[in-house]
Amino acid sequence: MRRRILIALAAGSIFGIGLVVSDMVNPARVQAFLDPFGAWDPTLAFVMGGAMIPMLIAWALTSNRSPLFGCGFPAMRTEIDGKLVSGGAMFGAGWGLAGFCPGPALAALSFGGGGLFLFVAAMLAGIGAFRLTVGARAPA
């Protein structure tokens, strides 16, 4: 249990530093990626590409093995339904409007200024609103 918590702490820390190093904490850079008809900035594609490399290796290593401190790997969900598409569309709209997705918004919380707190508070409220409405009727 303690080892799992240490792994989570290390993973969260490396993840957060990666978001700062790649400048994904900067919403202007994220919005510039989503703006192919403006001054397009392809940096986000390099971030995704870079993140793929360790993860491709990691998924390959999961076959016929168990996690170091756990009992199994999560099964892959396959259903492509209305919730996936409408949820993805809502997320995409919010992501474009602010230039923040959940990880960078939290990673930038300590230095990003007051607007970040507003965004994160609204994001938590959005999670709560889902829980009380659609999420209350069926598991996510």
Partner: protein, 144 residues
């Protein structure tokens, strides 16, 4: 277009760190580093036995950048959006990631690297709507 190769290389390096962190969490704990899902879980959804490690993940995610910028420099970030837009965006991101079961980390990094068709569909949708939103907001309606 931003042709600054140094920016691209910092993106690649930072991306490698993000992938490394996700790989560590997967191979160590057998869990997917999906920020929106972990956040939903830390707020009380899902099995309680994972609450401690979810909390620890967020301590690292929020705390490590603060230590990092103290040792290096504070990145010059631009939050250009108005408070009303930030609130609307936050609500959409919070609600949408729970309904769609994932964001850029879960569906993007972890799902695509697993060749999940479900995650590929989600990424296609949120990328397309993200581009549409910025394009409308900057070049058609204006104000963004």
């Amino acid at each position: 277009m931003n042709l600054n190769i140094a920016d691209w290389m910092m993106g690649l390096g930072g991306g490698l760190l993000i992938g490394l962190a996700s790989a560590l969490y997967l191979l160590g704990n057998g869990r997917i580093a999906r920020i929106s899902g972990l956040l939903g879980g830390a707020l009380g959804q899902g099995p309680n036995r994972f609450l401690g490690e979810r909390f620890a993940f967020f301590v690292g995610l929020i705390g490590a950048p603060f230590v990092w910028i103290s040792l290096t420099h504070v990145p010059a970030i631009t939050v250009a959006t108005s408070p009303a837009i930030l609130i609307l965006a936050g609500l959409l991101v919070g609600f949408g990631t729970q309904m769609g079961s994932g964001c850029t980390s879960g569906h993007g990094v972890c799902g695509l690297s697993r060749f999940s068709p479900r995650s590929a569909a989600a990424v296609a949708v949120f990328m397309a709507v993200g581009v549409l939103t910025v394009t409308l907001g900057r070049h058609v309606i204006g104000g963004l």
